[in-house]
């Protein structure tokens, strides 16, 4: 297992080698489809073995379909998937033709004989000739004599796989002891790589010179292992031979690569020939590159719904055509057929769901039954935002909420003040026995700013405000009294007034109730194995709850708000005397829920339609 310089292969290179510029081909991006890939002699001579090895690791390209398209004019026939089982070398391409895997990798010398390149260059599609008994086209291709072109190529393939028989290896056979030591060394490396990856740690710093005190996580960990285990300590790092340390960053990367390939192939294995659906989303990463994540959802053999993260790819732009190309590439790389897609889930951006040129339309062109489902969680968000924006009172409420939170949490000093007040109130309450103590129950929290894209943050921010209403009031009062500038005092006084108004308190409570209900739905939708029937059921229950709140939640709500106001010394308007103001609040409450109801209704209608 000692690192060796790449040695020339023991096989005859094909005679036909055209002059090619020496470009390195990226092994990770080989084209798998047999009709589109370049011929092996088109690669540079030095890279041919590497390419062959990469193809061998990928295996022959055998896409499984329930039915293959018809070919032939007079007597249309189809390809049959069970041929794959009887002829392991067989490959099927997107152009509906069959190829031979070993003959492609190890093409024989070109000769004048016609038909020799059927299975390597042109592709075979005369399916009629397969069921011809003795004269079956596949058998003819394999040939009877043991030295036929096909059998020779198969032998070449076996030899390339079997590295230990290579002549160089035989000459320099290592002792078993050495091999064992090497295995132990690489085992340590593999374990460290795995551990670091699971903990999301970096492998190394940007500078790896040995004089540095901190050598990066990987090497430091290796040293730690060395200090604990003598057996390993005697082998790794300084004690390892120079050519088999297995600690360089290339090796680390290669190990990680092997892990990733194994994970992907076991996911592929899990999918089997089940129908699946693709969920795609893009986001920008830390270095502002657009990354697209591809998740496959399918039902495995024992009936569990699985959502597996298959790959993440960098995309140049986010047009539907580019995304489609990348997704198809990934799918075909994993031997997954576009025809087996039975659903697509996107977040509803226009490049995704566009009716004519959106990603979903492009996929439906390829596969008629790839039904598009708009992400329900995103839909709920949109409905809630619209509900909040379209009622002026609620809109003002949220504006005010953000304003107050900004003022209170603007500086560290104010935050500290807030925490101190809170701590003292909590202590007081614990003393008089009003609240219980427990782990993590009475934590001192700050105020959270609501963000538009994540609706549960609104809910949290409202809950927090209710919890620390008193402390917030105190802080604002303090600022209003002795803020350093006039504008500060003015701002604080204004927001204090807002906080003390009955309107604010009322909407605060209404929104808390409404959003408490929808938050449940929101959380449930994000669960890992959610199915569409369940989701629709949840939407219905949410609707019923809101309806109930609208019909007979008013009294309890009013009671709650009144007691809250009394507690916080907010003036409660007299319900009978100021009829107009109460009437307004009453109407407002109706509006919110009606509007909301309406929205949820619409979203369910949309879901129904999409089903």
């Amino acid at each position: 297992m000692v690192e060796q310089p790449l040695c020339a292969s023991v096989y005859k290179e094909p005679a036909l080698i055209s002059e090619q510029p020496l470009t390195r081909i990226d092994i990770a991006h080989l084209i798998r489809d047999s009709s589109n890939r370049p011929q092996i002699w088109e690669y540079s001579v030095n890279q041919q073995d590497e390419i062959r090895r990469a193809y061998i690791n990928l295996g022959s390209y055998q896409p499984l379909m329930s039915e293959y398209p018809l070919t032939g004019n007079k007597h249309p026939c189809r390809f049959q998937s069970h041929w794959f089982k009887s002829y392991l070398w067989l490959e099927y391409s997107e152009k509906y033709t069959a190829f031979c895997f070993p003959c492609y990798l190890f093409p024989s010398k070109p000769s004048r004989k016609p038909g020799l390149d059927t299975f390597t260059v042109k592709g075979f599609n005369c399916w009629k000739k397969v069921n011809d008994g003795e004269r079956c086209a596949f058998l003819t291709h394999m040939g009877k004599c043991p030295n036929s072109a096909h059998r020779f190529a198969t032998r070449c393939l076996e030899n390339l796989k079997n590295q230990s028989c290579h002549i160089e290896k035989v000459v320099k056979r290592q002792t078993t002891q050495e091999i064992q030591n090497n295995r132990l060394r690489i085992k340590a490396s593999i374990d460290i790589v795995r551990w670091l990856t699971f903990q999301a740690c970096a492998f190394r710093g940007h500078d790896n010179c040995p004089e540095l005190k901190n050598q990066g996580n990987f090497l430091e960990m290796m040293e730690l292992l060395e200090s604990y285990n003598e057996q390993i300590g005697a082998l790794v790092l300084g004690n390892a031979p120079q050519n088999a340390k297995y600690a360089s960053h290339q090796i680390q990367k290669e190990i990680l690569h092997v892990f990733a390939r194994n994970v992907q192939s076991s996911i592929r294995h899990e999918i089997g020939d089940a129908r699946f659906c693709v969920t795609v989303d893009e986001a920008r990463d830390e270095s502002r590159r657009e990354q697209m994540a591809l998740v496959i959802r399918f039902v495995d053999r024992s009936g569990f719904i699985r959502e597996r993260f298959l790959d993440i790819v960098h995309v140049k732009d986010t047009t539907a055509a580019t995304l489609k190309e990348e997704i198809s590439f990934v799918l075909s790389h994993h031997n997954l057929d576009v025809q087996n897609i039975r659903g697509q889930g996107y977040d509803g951006a226009s490049n995704m769901h566009g009716e004519w040129n959106g990603l979903q339309a492009l996929f439906i062109n390829d596969c008629l039954y790839a039904y598009y489902v708009h992400c329900l969680a995103h839909q709920l968000q949109l409905a809630l935002i619209a509900a909040a924006r379209e009622i002026s009172d609620v809109h003002t409420f949220f504006q005010n909420l953000i304003y107050i939170i900004n003022i209170v949490s603007a500086s560290c000093k104010r935050n500290d003040e807030l925490r101190a007040f809170q701590a003292s109130t909590i202590e007081h309450l614990v003393d008089i026995g009003e609240i219980e103590t427990g782990k993590g129950v009475n934590q001192v929290g700050g105020l959270q700013r609501p963000g538009d894209s994540r609706w549960s943050s609104h809910f949290k921010s409202i809950c927090n405000l209710i919890k620390i209403y008193g402390a917030t009031c105190l802080v604002l009062e303090n600022i209003a009294l002795d803020g350093s500038t006039y504008s500060q005092r003015g701002d604080a006084a204004f927001s204090f007034k807002l906080l003390m108004s009955f309107d604010f308190a009322l909407i605060l409570h209404i929104m808390k109730d409404v959003m408490g209900i929808t938050d449940m739905l929101c959380q449930a939708l994000q669960q890992k194995s959610q199915d569409i029937l369940n989701a629709m059921h949840l939407v219905t229950t949410t609707k019923t709850l809101i309806q109930k709140l609208r019909d007979d939640g008013w009294k309890t709500l009013l009671k709650e708000v009144t007691s809250f106001c009394k507690h916080q010394d907010i003036e409660v308007p007299d319900m009978d005397a100021c009829f107009s103001s109460v009437g307004r609040s009453r109407r407002k409450q109706k509006l919110v829920t009606v509007e909301h109801h309406y929205r949820v209704d619409i979203s369910t209608v949309i879901i129904d339609q999409q089903l």
Binding site: V2, N57, I190, V263, A377
Partner: protein, 152 residues
């Protein structure tokens, strides 16, 4: 229409016609004409059998039902019904898993690690997110693959 398969309230909503319509309309490629006739027959048996099965009686969701069918071996008796249920379960609900992947990406590719290559990021994320699969591999499997990757 797919609500017709819902196991809630002891299969109250079960309706053979609706299910056959569903197949006709949405999944014509997955069922041949012959199979559609078979499906109708299977559904009739299924209607009488499954709601009375002690274990399958009280299923609360279609996902549980699918697992239950496999556990009790009913999926081999009603292969077409099983296929249909699987197809319905495959429909996506939310993109939460992809969003989760991105929050994983944020943890991995931080401000200090912003020079990471795309390939490396992809490999790292696959292993990081699908931990449970990566845990299963033995060291020897990895060593063998590592060995076959390059001439050493």
């Amino acid at each position: 229409m797919s609500t017709a398969l819902d196991p809630r309230n002891s299969y109250k909503l079960f309706n053979v016609e609706d299910i056959c319509l569903l197949v006709d309309k949405f999944y014509p490629q997955d069922f041949s004409d012959q199979e559609k006739i078979h499906l109708r027959l299977q559904l009739q048996h299924y209607e009488l059998d499954v709601p009375n099965h002690p274990k399958l009686k009280s299923m609360s969701s279609i996902a549980d039902l699918c697992q239950g069918l496999v556990e009790t071996g009913k999926s081999t008796i009603y292969p077409l019904v099983d296929r249909l249920i699987r197809l319905i379960l495959t429909l996506p609900v939310s993109t939460a898993t992809t969003e989760r992947a991105f929050s994983g990406m944020k943890i991995v590719k931080t401000r200090l690690r912003n020079r990471m290559e795309d390939d490396f990021l992809a490999n790292y994320l696959i292993v990081y997110i699908e931990k449970e699969i990566a845990e299963r591999f033995t060291i020897d499997m990895i060593i063998d693959d590592f060995y076959s990757m390059k001439e050493r």
